[in-house]
């Protein structure tokens, strides 16, 4: 009687053990498959988001090449750009309803930074030293960095710096130094145009009170180049003007995914009707009904 009961218990134990083993195996299989499926889905999602961002970059380029930068040309029905600023404040650009943009959502955040409003590493001066100090470099070393950079750019038969990371080829400069300032310096830039200087650079270029006033105006949307002139007594001249140049640092961010693209672009605007970057049979977007010759040429 005892043995029979023991046998019964053994059988139950064996069945339970086998069921447990099978269950564990099944759980492992399900966990593995879930992990791999989620990995594949993540990759697919990332790919779709990136491809959508590349597509949106081309769309924004086309918008910037064919829209008036200074005015909200209401007759241009294809325009989706809001009023632009060139000192790096974000503006929201609505995207057209296309399946290819689904992964990005309905909008993109666009920042334009005029490159002529940044400090050029090819003509280093006291502003760069002041900037380095503000970013935590000791004053003596900041001066040394600027001196070395000046010596490098002014040596005979030297090449202009064309990439910001090439500054590490200058004695004394390290990658960390470049990282400290790279958001507000450029290798491009012609005549400095500090009307559109980013907020981070204003305290280096202007008196602190003026810099704070300009930042406050920008935040409230009440800033333009006339306000800059009023505050700084700088009204420009025949050589330098306050219009944003063709070279812009364009930063696009997808709000949902946080994907970001940053490029230094040359949009070659040609008067109020920008020169397209493709040199085909037509040079300009000639639309005589909307843009008279006067409009085309009045800015050159």
């Amino acid at each position: 009687m005892y043995n029979r009961r023991s046998q019964q218990g053994m059988a139950l134990f064996q069945v339970l053990l086998i069921v447990a083993i099978i269950s564990i195996l099944l759980l492992i299989i399900v966990a593995n498959s879930n992990h791999a499926v989620s990995q594949a889905q993540r990759l697919q999602q990332q790919t779709q988001q990136r491809l959508a961002l590349y597509s949106a970059i081309n769309f924004i380029d086309q918008q910037l090449l064919t829209s008036n930068w200074a005015l909200l040309d209401e007759e241009n029905t294809a325009r989706v750009l809001p009023e632009l600023n060139f000192y790096g404040y974000p503006v929201t650009v609505p995207l057209p309803e296309r399946r290819s943009y689904d992964a990005l959502g309905q909008t993109l955040e666009l920042r334009l930074q005029n490159l002529e409003s940044l400090i050029s590493v090819n003509s280093p001066g006291n502003e760069l030293a002041a900037l380095l100090e503000r970013r935590g470099v000791e004053p003596a070393r900041a001066q040394r960095l600027v001196s070395e950079l000046r010596a490098y750019t002014q040596q005979e038969q030297s090449l202009h710096l064309q990439s910001i990371w090439d500054v590490q080829q200058v004695p004394e400069w390290t990658r960390e130094d470049i990282r400290l300032v790279r958001d507000v310096v450029t290798t491009r830039g012609g005549l400095p145009n500090y009307v559109h200087a980013p907020d981070a650079l204003l305290p280096v270029l202007l008196r602190s009170g003026v810099a704070a006033s300009i930042s406050a105006m920008r935040a409230s949307g009440a800033y333009d180049q006339s306000r800059y002139s009023e505050l700084t007594n700088d009204y420009g001249d025949m050589v330098s003007n306050f219009f944003p140049g063709s070279e812009q640092r364009v930063t696009l961010t997808a709000p949902i995914s946080g994907l970001t693209s940053e490029r230094d672009m040359n949009y070659d605007p040609y008067g109020l009707t920008p020169l397209t970057r493709y040199y085909g049979t037509m040079q300009r977007r000639l639309d005589p009904e909307r843009y008279s010759d006067e409009w085309n040429d009045n800015d050159n």
Partner: protein, 241 residues
């Protein structure tokens, strides 16, 4: 008596029910369960192998995707790099042939904090086809100043393993003189000179940088647009442009 017998029968039946499995029953059930387990194990093994094969393919695809992303970022960052030739004449560090090209980008695939010289070219594979290869030499603290400078290329990546054909061509202006005439004609003539497609493009010979590169891998076209800033770059070194 009748009650006793009925009681005995009831007791026997109860006892029989208590017997549970006999040894033979247990052995048979164990054999059956073992067979089921064996089948399950074999099925699981097959499933696992199949899964690992698929996962391996997936990892290859993912790695390939990453490589393409990196290379895409590099080709997006190509710029017309000015260098001097042996006679101190400035030109552009770009050499395009029908089997590949060498250019300069402001980032490298290995390290986004340095510029790099890179090349994309075709080479024959064992299947009588071609593979598309990427290689680069990061610049870091080394300045690129001469067209003839020797650079250590590494970071070899296969972009396409097997294509029946791979060809390269370059869109650009014939040379700096044609480009300068086109600039002078802007605003005066409705039609000006247009860029052309070339099967080779030497940035030092032409003193120009191409505007676009087309890589055609058996009908799949990869089109890379480049910044049109060569003349502006060169104007920093010459006074007659």
């Amino acid at each position: 008596m009748g009650r006793h017998c009925r009681h005995a029968l009831t007791q026997r039946t109860y006892t029989d029910r208590q017997h549970g499995f006999t040894l033979v029953e247990t052995l048979i059930s164990l054999v059956l369960i073992s067979l089921v387990m064996l089948s399950a194990a074999m099925a699981y093994q097959y499933f696992t192998q199949n899964w690992q094969r698929n996962q391996s393919n997936f990892l290859d695809v993912r790695e390939n995707y990453r490589t393409w992303q990196l290379v895409h970022q590099v080709t997006d960052a190509i710029y017309p790099k000015v260098v001097f030739d042996d006679n101190q004449v400035p030109g552009f560090y770009f050499l395009g042939r029908d089997d590949g090209f060498t250019g300069v980008a402001s980032i490298s695939a290995q390290d986004p904090s340095t510029s790099a010289v890179f090349r994309i070219f075709r080479e024959p594979n064992q299947n009588n086809g071609f593979r598309l290869v990427y290689e680069e030499a990061t610049l870091g603290q080394q300045a690129l100043q001469r067209a003839g400078q020797t650079l250590p290329f590494n970071f070899r990546r296969i972009l396409i393993e097997n294509a029946a054909s791979i060809s390269f061509r370059y869109q650009g202006w014939q040379n700096i003189a044609v480009r300068s005439r086109a600039i002078a004609a802007e605003g005066f003539e409705e039609r000006i000179a247009t860029p052309e497609w070339f099967s080779d493009y030497d940035g030092m010979e032409r003193s120009l940088h191409p505007l676009a590169i087309e890589i055609n891998a058996a009908g799949v076209v990869w089109f890379i647009t480049l910044p049109d800033s060569a003349v502006a770059e060169l104007s920093r070194y010459t006074s007659d442009v």
